[in-house]
Symmetry: C2
Subunit: 157 residues, 2 copies
DNA sequence: GCTGACGTACTCGGATAACGTTTGTCCGAGTCCGATAGG
DNA sequence: CCTATCGGACTCGGACAAACGTTATCCGAGTACGTCAGC
């Protein structure tokens, strides 16, 4: 039960990208966060495929959010990078073994899968309730008012 | 974001073990579910280490629940097999890079980690609310009243 | 002076290796039951 | 007939490989800007 480490990077990138329409190159974002440039590029590609960011090629190109930060939930970023598949995958154990239940006798999903599905939905709902704008506001409140503006200035230097 | 497949096996084992104090060998449980005996043994060992089941050695030995099924939550089984560590691990990205925040300026946890932690708690709370007895009752209701008694009879044949 | 085309440098994107974790397997230590021999 | 001892077989437990997924990396395709020649 482990989430991809790229999720954290992707979220941080979305936060610093919020509020500025200027495209920022992946290499710049990587240098800012002091992480592997090539691997961060992979995460940004995933965000691009999901339609959360728009990529611009050529000089002065880079990545920018496609929507206002207030309209992007944390869940979307997580699902874009880590995948939208539920953590639990039912293998229909009931239908195996000497006393296997007939497939038609099995209500879908089975009790175990239902519990896991409910927990998964609770988890996703919790992430859906928070937006990138909320995260940015939190940074402003806890670390300092000028933190994000300074970051944006550095990124678009 | 993927849960260990052994969790499903462990839960099914707990369900069929509920209600009978008789120890059941791991090999028998594996045959019943038609899964790898050696690997299932590994999961049962994890449950044993967590104190959810008690192992008895020698002839007529095996595994049995230590507590009534109504007092064992699904969460306990999941944490015993899949580990209790949260899925998200904060690497303190804020403290890296050219504009790194000073460690003392960072409130713990940071906004991102806080959101992830809340989602994790929601997930766990959802799993904590269901017990093995609930799962057993669901089987009785959906598949058939005699399903579990027949399974127990087969296991202790 | 203006316009068009060209070259260049910079960007992303997908295909390609290395590592770690999970999955799967094996054999050894420990223990209980049954058989057996003695009282 | 009862009891203590011994043998055997069955059990779990931890240590040992293989496979998958994640992590990390590279090079090629595409595009926008700046330059330069022509009108």
């Amino acid at each position: 039960m482990k989430m991809s480490g790229g999720v954290e990077w992707g979220l941080h990138c979305c936060v610093v990208l919020s509020g500025s329409g200027e495209p920022v190159p992946a290499a710049r974002l990587a240098e800012f966060h002091d992480v592997s440039a090539t691997y961060l590029a992979k995460q940004l590609q995933a965000l691009s495929r999901a339609g959360l960011v728009r990529s611009t090629q050529g000089q002065a190109g880079g990545y920018a959010l496609t929507r206002p930060a207030a309209e992007i939930s944390v869940l979307e970023v997580v699902e874009a990078i880590d995948g939208a598949d539920p953590a639990f995958r039912c293998t229909e154990v009931r239908q195996r073994g000497p006393l296997a239940a007939a497939p038609e006798a099995c209500t879908r999903p089975c009790g175990i899968a239902a519990v896991m599905g409910a927990a998964d939905r609770a988890w996703r709902e919790s992430l859906r309730a928070v937006t990138i704008a909320d995260l940015a506001a939190d940074v402003t409140r806890t670390v300092g008012v000028d933190t994000l503006p300074r970051a944006r200035a550095w990124l678009t230097r």
